[in-house]
């Protein structure tokens, strides 16, 4: 959707500013009006009223937004800030003004079908000894980060599900990037191509359920695919939803006690974008010996841990600082273990977590440990 199509949405903002204090992680660091929702919407209005023009400086500012949606959570008028931001980014892409890092990411996706730019043949390595079928009732949509960066999470997920009696299918090299980064960054046409491809391959697999461990892939498949390319013939589940069902059906046996006091970081895509707050917590509460304590900013009010690709490249100081703040929140609770349920968050949080000597888990890894199926 282009910005002009969102005119009504832009004019809905009353500029009350409830999206300002302790809401936007970028605003908290940079302080200016243009860095958070009220300024973003007013900027959009300036563009619509031709008081402003798209420029590189404006692009740099607009690409700061992490689309964590905390502003929308606090907006009394439900202004679709993320929609407005995406529309502005589409216009910026069209005008050739998107920051180079995004164009680079798009080029990676075009050539390697993943935003990391890693060769395709690396993608399936994690699964080579697992003998996964290409077709089946439950399909594991692995996602780029688990495939390339966090294979242990992918492998743990397969083991957990097998132990629970589900032999998941896998698209292997036919699985392309889900398109989350592309539609968030304004490359709508590229996102569309990725989505159409994935949809076709998922349908070919005969899957009735598609499960993913990545909160970004989940939001994309669950919400953006139907919105952008039509109704889905299959159900999309995040691993936390499926695990909760399996626990309720008595199919998960937590054999090992894990005596840890842990805290949980809600991924924005899983929480605010998709409303899954209870599922991961219920799973953690089932693990024997585990004590879950909450950070002060949790659930709907969770503080975003940052956006690795953009911030680290274009705004390195911010890229470093945002995950540090989130890890500090956990450290201040006195916990030694931080759990999340998204590989993108794991990627953001891992360096400051290591520095603070906090062990970081993607949730399937902890579940596998308790089930005694960790393996390699």
């Amino acid at each position: 959707m282009r910005l002009k199509d969102l005119t009504e949405e832009v004019y809905k903002c009353i500029r009350c500013g409830w999206c300002r204090e302790k809401i936007c992680p970028i605003r908290e660091e940079l302080g200016f009006e243009s860095t958070y929702a009220r300024g973003i919407v007013l900027t959009a209005r300036g563009l619509l009223e031709k008081q402003l023009n798209y420029s590189s400086a404006l692009a740099n500012r607009m690409y700061l937004c992490l689309e964590c949606a905390n502003c929308m959570e606090h907006c009394p008028l439900d202004v679709d800030v993320v929609g407005i931001m995406n529309a502005m980014r589409q216009d910026l892409v069209k005008a050739g003004l998107a920051p180079e890092v995004f164009r680079q990411v798009d080029r990676h996706v075009e050539s390697t079908k993943n935003p990391l730019g890693i060769e395709r043949n690396e993608m399936v390595k994690w699964s080579e000894d697992l003998g996964l079928a290409r077709k089946g009732e439950v399909l594991f949509f692995v996602g780029c980060y688990p495939s390339y960066k966090f294979p242990k999470t992918a492998r743990a997920t397969v083991r957990i599900l097998r132990q629970a009696g589900i032999d998941v299918a896998y698209l292997a090299e036919e699985e392309w990037c889900c398109g989350t980064a592309q539609y968030m960054d304004g490359s709508a046409a590229l996102a569309q191509r990725l989505m159409v491809h994935n949809l076709e391959k998922i349908e070919d697999s005969g899957a009735e359920k598609v499960v993913t461990t990545c909160a970004g892939c989940y939001t994309s498949l669950k919400h953006e695919y139907p919105k952008r390319i039509g109704e889905l013939s299959f159900q999309v589940l995040h691993i936390t939803e499926l695990l909760e069902d399996l626990i309720n059906e008595g199919k998960i046996d937590f054999k090992n006690e894990i005596k840890k006091r842990v805290t949980y970081h809600d991924p924005c895509h899983l929480g605010r974008h998709s409303g899954l707050y209870d599922e991961p917590r219920k799973i953690l509460n089932h693990i024997p010996g585990l004590e879950l304590v909450e950070m002060s900013r949790n659930r709907e009010n969770t503080r975003c841990c940052g956006g690795e690709i953009v911030l680290n490249t274009v705004f390195p100081e911010l890229g470093k600082r945002l995950p540090e703040i989130r890890v500090d929140e956990a450290a201040n609770l006195g916990v030694k273990d931080l759990i999340t349920s998204c590989p993108l968050c794991v990627s953001n949080l891992r360096i400051p977590a290591r520095k603070r000597r906090i062990k970081l888990y993607d949730l399937p890894l902890l579940v596998a440990e308790s089930m005694g199926v960790s393996g390699k």
């Binding site: 009350c16 300002r20 302080g31 009006e33």
Partner: protein, 449 residues
């Protein structure tokens, strides 16, 4: 000059980007946008003082801005200049072990003060203006905002124990007891003349508030909410008068146009009580008698519904009616309310068709302040329609003229000052002399008052 400003706050805290200037060209109201020339985001009072020294030397206007949630254009620059975004001054200080007062830097928001005090079993008297989740202590004091709780505590000035103010020449003054360097901000009425009052409602034209000290109270045990419907404005005003006379309500509001469907009648009155359980019971009983004597019909549930979502409900209502909006408001004696309200209704009757054609809506209500009543008239339109937007600005000025002529005295003034200045007479002459003395180069929010 801009490089000097960058030296003071760091280049990352200065912006002259066109989109940034645009973002600071408006407040929450429908005053037309006006661009500043530069934005600076200081993080301390010392930086504010240094910025003022530079601006004074270059005779460059300085416009202080808190949340920018006023609706009168208070931080919308009339003569360009340097916009000071004060939201970076965000420390809260509770030095007194008993927490009988709280010091908040200019950029601290109301809901944060409330939250911090709640953890200590304390609260401030007033809960902040309509935009409390974003409005800052400094900004609210600078425009003399009316706050939730005005029925019990009155205007903001009644809660202030002292201020810290940066003057045009870059000096910093602490008012009240804190004028004595060896004392704290615990008492406003000290040291002769009340210089605290100079800054309250001054719109940053006499100095820039960098810190506010507020009274605190024991956290209340209980709340109760009531709503009544009335068949005449006179009855409703008598009911509100009774609540004021017997010092009953924490907050009290009147709806005249439109009256919420749930209430019905010619006017609706909602009020809220705060206190201990027994106080609430006693005050509740007294208030019910007052309402009955004024022929009020009790509307159960609406009071609770209104006050439980007291800030959200208002923003939603503004958003639905506008979202573009302007407001004229001010204080009059309570029993004069019906006469002024009827004049306003008459004003709108004459413009009914024009307003309807332009999609313009309006509302009329009241807020009780301990000894007077605030009469706010809001005008709404969608700013997508430029002609409607222009028209609500002219209605705004017409209504200001009508209301001020009938004795209404505004708290915030903003871009309506021309209507006030001509009525001030000797008061304006005195203000002007003070302004010339404190700000001889007229750099502080010039043109605002």
């Amino acid at each position: 000059m801009y490089s000097l400003l960058a030296e003071i706050v760091g280049p990352e805290n200065v912006s002259r980007e066109d989109f940034e200037l645009w973002c600071y060209s408006r407040d929450a109201g429908s005053v037309f946008p006006r661009l500043p020339e530069c934005i600076v985001t200081p993080k301390s009072k010392e930086q504010v003082a240094e910025i003022l020294k530079v601006a004074n030397e270059y005779k460059k206007p300085v416009i202080p801005r808190g949340a920018g949630s006023s609706m009168c254009g208070a931080p919308v620059p009339l003569k360009g200049g340097v916009m000071l975004d004060l939201t970076g001054l965000k420390r809260i200080k509770i030095q007194d072990e008993e927490g009988l007062f709280v010091r908040a830097e200019a950029g601290v928001i109301w809901t944060e003060i409330i939250e911090v005090l709640k953890q200590r079993g304390r609260e401030i008297g007033l809960e902040g203006p309509w935009s409390a989740p974003s409005a800052t202590a400094g900004g609210s004091v600078a425009v003399g905002a009316i706050c939730m709780g005005a029925a019990k505590y009155g205007g903001l000035g009644t809660q202030i124990l002292g201020l810290e103010v940066a003057l045009a020449d870059g000096s910093i003054v602490r008012t009240g007891s804190a004028a004595n360097r060896n004392n704290e901000m615990v008492m406003r009425d000290c040291n002769g003349a009340d210089l605290t009052g100079l800054s309250i409602g001054s719109h940053g034209t006499l100095g820039i508030i960098t810190e506010v000290s507020l009274k605190t109270y024991a956290f209340h045990e209980a709340e109760a909410y009531y709503a009544y419907s009335f068949e005449s404005l006179e009855d409703a005003a008598r009911a509100v008068y009774g609540l004021a006379r017997d010092e009953i309500a924490f907050d009290c509001r009147m709806f005249v146009y439109p009256v919420p469907e749930e209430i019905g009648g010619v006017a609706g009155v909602v009020y809220m009580l705060k206190g201990s359980g027994s106080q609430i019971q006693e005050l509740g009983g007294k208030s019910r008698k007052i309402m009955q004597l004024a022929h009020g019909k009790s509307i159960s549930e609406f009071g609770e519904q209104y006050y439980k979502g007291r800030f959200t409900a208002r923003v939603k209502a503004f958003g639905e009616a506008g979202p573009g909006w302007l407001e004229v408001a001010g204080y009059i004696p309570i029993l004069r309310y019906p006469a002024v309200a009827k004049e306003i209704i008459k004003y709108w009757k004459k413009r009914e068709e024009e307003a309807k054609n332009l999609g313009i809506k309006w509302s009329l209500g009241a807020l009780l302040e301990t000894h007077s009543i605030n009469i706010p008239v809001a005008i709404f339109c969608s700013e997508v329609k430029r002609d409607a937007w222009q028209r609500i600005n002219s209605y705004w000025h017409e209504l200001a003229e009508l209301m001020y002529e009938r004795g209404v005295s505004p708290y915030w003034i903003g871009h309506l000052s021309s209507h006030i200045v001509k009525r001030w007479g000797p008061y304006y002459q005195l203000y002007k002399k003070i302004k010339e003395s404190l700000d001889p180069n007229n750099i502080l929010n010039p043109g605002m008052l």
